[in-house]
Amino acid sequence: MENPVLRGDLRARSGSRKIWVLQAVYLGMLGALVFLGLPPELGRFTESNETSLYVAVLWVQIVMVAYFASACLIQEIAVEGEKAAIDLIFAPFSPATIVIGKSVSSLVTIGYWLVLGAPLLVLTTAIRQIPTVSLLPTASVIAVAAWGIAQIGLLYGVFFDAEFLRTVVHWATLLVIFVGTTLLPLPLHGLNPIVAVTDAARGLLPAVPMATYATIGVGCALWTGQRLRSLAAG
C-alpha cells in the first residue's frame, strides 16, 4: 500500500465505530433475512421460486453496499479520521494519488463487505442446492455497480461544497439509479442494479450494465481528478 490516501482511508475505516455500526447493520440484516427465509416454499417449485430467497438477499446486499460506499465517499457518513477528497488538495498529494487512493479504498471496502456477507449467502444457496460458483458473477456485478455508484459520490464530494446540497443530489442520484432505471425500456432496463444482479443470479452475465457502471466509475474518477487539479491550481 504505497498510496498514502489508500492507507489512511483503510486505517480510518478499520478503526471507525461508525463503520463498525454499518457493518453490524449490514450483516444483521442479511442474517435476519437468511434466517427468516429459511422455511422452504412448499407447494411452489417453479424455477423463479427456487432462488427467491437467494435473490432477495442479493437485492438487500447491493442496495446497502452501494449506499454505504457512496455515502462514505460523499462524506454523508463521516468516517472518523478519514479526510474528504476535497480536503486533501492542500496535502502534499497529487490529484491522481487522491483519486486512485479514494477509488481503490472504496473498491476494497466493497469487496471486504461482500466477503463478510458471503457465508450467509452460501448458507442460502447451498441449502437450496444452488451451485456456490454462481456467487462469483453476482458478487462481480455488485462490486462493479456499487463501485460505480460510489465514484459518483466521490465526484459530488468535490463538486458541491454545501453538505445539504450534496445529500440532496446524492439521494436524487440513488433514486434515479435504483427506481428511475426501472422505467427505461428494454434493454436499458437492465441498467438497474437490482435487475442486473437478478440476471446474474439466473446465470446471465449482465455485461452491458457492468461495462456501464465501470465506465461511470472510471469517468467519475477522471472528472474528479480534473476538478481537483483545477481546484489546486485555482
Binding site: 483503510l10 486505517r11 478499520s14 478503526g15 471507525s16 465505530r17 463498525w20 457493518q23 453490524a24 450483516l27 444483521g28 442474517g31 437468511v34 434466517f35 429459511l38 422455511p39 422452504p40 416454499e41 412448499l42 407447494g43 411452489r44 417449485f45 421460486n49 427456487e50 471486504y112 466477503v115 463478510l116 458471503a118 457465508p119 450467509l120 452460501v122 448458507l123 444457496t125 447451498a126 441449502i127 437450496r128 442446492q129 456456490t132
Partner: protein, 605 residues
C-alpha cells in the same frame, strides 16, 4: 393426489378404449426369452396392484442380477412417467428363475417393459402391451379348466373383465388380490396350491375378499378353506327346475332338471333354496364373503337361464366401499408436514455465532489486521455454512405416517393400511423402507421412483425438487392382531379386548355422533355407556392433537366415510400404542411423526 386423478383415469380409459388395439400381444409374452404373465390372465385394474410373474430362462452368466419392471403411469409431469419395480436375484449360469412381484398399472396406453440385467449389463428385455378389453373396473378371476362361458358378464353394469387362470397363477400374498372383486374356484385340486397361496387366499377372504366355490359333481373339498365355508358339500342330486331362482333373479328357468350338489348349510349361512334343497349358501368370513353354488353355471340348463346375470351381479358385489380411502388420509398428512424446529434453532445459532465472532473481533481489534482476521473468519465460515446447509437439508427431511388397523373378529388378523408422506423441503433424494410384509405403492406417480423389493422390505428411492409438496405412499398388508369390541345390554355396556396393546383417546363413532371412551389399557375392559354421552361429532370441546384429528378427518370425511359410519353398529376408533412403524426414512436425525389408528366395528350381543 390419486383421488383427484380418478376422473382423469376414467377419461383416459374411455379415450383409450376408442383407440385401436396395440399391436403386440398381451401377457403371457415370450418375446426376448422372457415369459411374462401380467395380472390375472392379462386382466388388470388401473391404479390397483396386480401380480406379475416373469419366467427368466437360463442365463449364460452368474452374478448379481436385477429384474426391472417399468410400469408407465399418469403423473403431474409432462412426458414419460414410469414407476420402476426392481427385484434383485442371484443369477446362476444355466439355471432359470421364476420371479413374482406386485406391480401397478396406471397408464395402459404404453406397454409395461421388463428388463433383466446381470452385473449391471442388460441381457434380456421384453414389453407387454395391454389391450383395452384387459382392463376392468370389476374383475372376476376364474380358476377353471373351461376358459370360456362367462362372456355374457360384459353385459353387467361396470366394466366387467373375466380372467381365467390356473392354480399356479394365484398370488402368494393377499395384497396381490387387490384388483380381484370375485374369485371363482371350479374344480381345483388343492394339491396344486402351495401353503403360501392357501394362506394368501384365506387372508384375502377374511380381510374383505369375495370367493365363489362351484360345487359340481365330483368336486374335491378344499380343506384349507374349511374354517370359512358356508356349507358342507354332500353328494350329487338331480333337482327339478329351480323356479325359486327364477323368481328371485328373473328370467324363465329352462324346463330341464338340474344336476346339482347337495349343500348342507352351516350355522350363520344364508341360503337360497331351489329344486328341493339349498342351491346357494353364503356366509360372511371376517370382512369377506364365501359363497357356494351347488350347481355348475358353465353347464346347461343354467347357461340358457337369462336370470343368471343378476345372480352373477349379486355375487360379484359392488366393491369394498367401507374400506379406508388412503388418498383422503394422505391429503390430511401432506397439508401440514412440519419443518423441524431444531433446524431453525441450529441455523439461527450459527448465524448469531458468526455475527458475534466477526463483529466482536472488529470491535476488539479495530485495525487493518483485525479486518484481515475477520476475512479469515469469513473464509472459514464459507466452509462451515456449506456443511451446515447440507446438514440442514438432511435434517429437514420428514416422514409422517398413519397406519389404520382394521381387525377382523375371530381371525386374529387385521388389515393394515399405512399412508406416509415424505417431505424433502429443500429438495433432494429420499430413501424410505417399507416393512417386508407390506406391499407399497406411490400415490402420486412420478418418473423418478424406484421400488426395490428386498428381503428387508421394499426400498423406495426418489428425488423431490425444492419446494415440491410431500410425496405420499400407501402400503397394505396384514398383521396379527387379536382385538374385539362389543356392545351389550342394549348398547349400555361396552366390552373391549385389545390383547397386549393399549389405546389412547378411544371414541365410538356412529353416524354423526361420537362417544368419548378415553384411554383403554391392555387386555379386557368393560365400560358402562351413558346415553347422554353421545354428542355430535362436530361439537366443540373435543380436543384431539393435530395429527390424529387430521387423520380421523381423512377417514371419516373421505369418500368412504359414510360407509364406515353408517354401518349397523358403531365403530371403535383410537390410537394404538406399540405397533412398529411401517415406513422408515433413511438418514440420521430425520424427524418422524407416526400414528397407529385402531378401527374396529362393534359387535352387538
Amino acid at each position: 393426489m390419486a383421488r383427484c386423478a380418478g376422473p382423469a383415469l376414467v377419461g383416459l380409459c374411455a379415450l383409450w378404449c376408442l383407440a385401436p388395439a396395440p399391436p403386440s400381444a398381451a401377457s403371457p409374452a415370450a418375446d426376448g426369452g422372457l415369459e411374462v404373465r401380467l395380472g390375472f390372465d392379462g386382466i388388470v385394474k388401473l391404479g390397483v396392484t396386480v401380480p406379475i410373474l416373469v419366467v427368466v430362462p437360463p442365463l449364460a452368466r452368474s452374478g448379481h442380477a436385477e429384474l426391472e419392471v417399468d410400469a408407465p403411469a399418469l403423473g403431474p409431469e409432462i412426458g414419460r412417467v414410469i414407476t420402476s419395480t426392481i427385484v434383485p436375484f442371484e443369477s446362476v449360469a444355466g439355471a432359470g428363475q421364476v420371479i413374482r412381484a406386485p406391480v401397478t398399472i396406471r397408464d395402459p396406453r404404453r406397454p409395461v417393459t421388463i428388463r433383466v440385467a446381470v452385473n449391471g449389463e442388460p441381457v434380456l428385455q421384453t414389453a407387454v402391451a395391454i389391450a383395452p378389453e384387459q382392463v376392468g373396473d370389476r374383475v372376476l378371476v376364474v380358476l377353471s379348466d373351461d376358459r370360456v362361458g362367462l362372456a355374457a358378464l360384459s353385459l353387467l353394469p361396470g366394466r366387467v373383465a373375466v380372467g381365467y387362470v390356473t392354480a399356479d397363477a394365484l398370488p402368494h400374498s393377499f395384497e396381490e388380490y387387490a384388483a380381484v372383486d370375485l374369485l371363482v374356484i371350479r374344480g381345483l385340486d388343492p394339491a396344486l396350491l402351495d401353503s403360501a397361496q392357501q394362506q394368501a387366499l384365506l387372508t384375502w377372504v377374511r380381510l374383505g375378499g369375495r370367493l365363489l366355490l362351484i360345487a359340481g359333481p365330483g368336486t374335491r373339498q378344499l380343506a384349507f378353506l374349511d374354517p370359512i365355508l358356508p356349507a358342507d358339500v354332500g353328494g350329487p342330486r338331480v333337482a327339478p327346475p329351480p323356479v325359486e331362482l327364477a323368481a328371485r333373479y328373473g328370467g324363465a328357468f329352462p324346463p330341464a332338471p338340474l344336476a346339482a350338489t347337495t349343500l348342507i348349510p352351516r350355522a350363520g349361512a344364508r341360503e337360497v333354496l331351489g329344486g328341493g334343497g339349498p342351491l346357494i349358501a353364503a356366509r360372511d368370513a371376517g370382512a369377506g364373503q364365501v359363497t357356494i353354488w351347488g350347481f355348475d353355471p358353465w353347464r346347461s340348463p343354467v347357461l340358457e337361464w337369462k336370470g343368471r346375470l343378476r345372480l352373477w351381479d349379486e355375487v360379484l358385489g359392488g366393491g369394498a366401499a367401507s374400506s379406508i380411502d388412503a388418498a383422503a388420509v394422505a391429503e390430511q398428512l401432506t397439508t401440514g408436514t412440519p419443518l423441524d424446529p431444531g433446524v431453525h434453532a441450529q441455523v439461527g445459532g450459527a448465524i448469531l455465532l458468526y455475527l458475534a465472532a466477526v463483529l466482536g473481533l472488529l470491535r476488539w481489534k479495530p485495525t487493518i489486521a483485525g479486518a484481515g482476521a475477520a476475512v479469515v473468519i469469513a473464509l472459514a465460515g464459507l466452509g462451515a455454512f456449506s456443511s451446515l446447509a447440507e446438514l440442514t437439508r438432511h435434517r429437514s427431511a420428514t416422514l409422517v405416517q398413519a397406519t389404520v388397523l382394521g381387525p377382523v373378529i375371530g381371525s386374529g388378523e387385521a388389515k393394515a393400511v399405512a399412508v406416509a408422506a415424505v417431505a424433502v423441503p429443500y429438495g433432494g433424494r429420499y430413501k424410505v423402507t417399507v416393512s417386508p410384509d407390506m406391499v407399497a405403492d406411490p400415490m402420486t406417480p412420478t418418473g423418478d421412483l424406484r421400488m426395490e423389493l428386498t428381503s428387508g422390505g421394499t426400498v423406495l428411492t426418489g428425488v423431490l425438487r425444492p419446494g415440491e409438496p410431500p410425496r405420499p405412499f400407501e402400503a397394505v398388508g396384514a398383521v396379527g392382531l387379536v382385538a374385539s369390541a362389543s356392545l351389550a345390554d342394549g348398547g349400555r355396556t361396552l366390552s373391549v379386548d385389545l390383547g397386549p396393546l393399549r389405546a389412547r383417546r378411544v371414541e365410538l363413532r356412529w353416524r354423526d355422533r361420537v362417544y368419548s371412551v378415553g384411554d383403554l389399557p391392555a387386555g379386557r375392559t368393560v365400560r358402562e355407556l351413558h346415553p347422554d354421552g353421545w354428542i355430535a361429532a362436530t361439537a366443540d370441546g373435543r380436543s384431539l392433537p393435530e395429527l390424529p384429528a387430521r387423520v380421523l378427518d381423512g377417514i371419516f370425511q373421505g369418500p368412504n366415510g359414510d360407509a364406515i359410519l353408517n354401518g349397523a353398529t358403531p365403530v371403535l376408533v383410537g390410537e394404538l400404542e406399540g405397533p412398529a412403524p411401517v415406513f422408515a426414512l433413511g438418514g440420521a436425525g430425520a424427524p418422524r411423526q407416526r400414528l397407529t389408528i385402531l378401527l374396529l366395528p362393534l359387535e352387538r350381543r
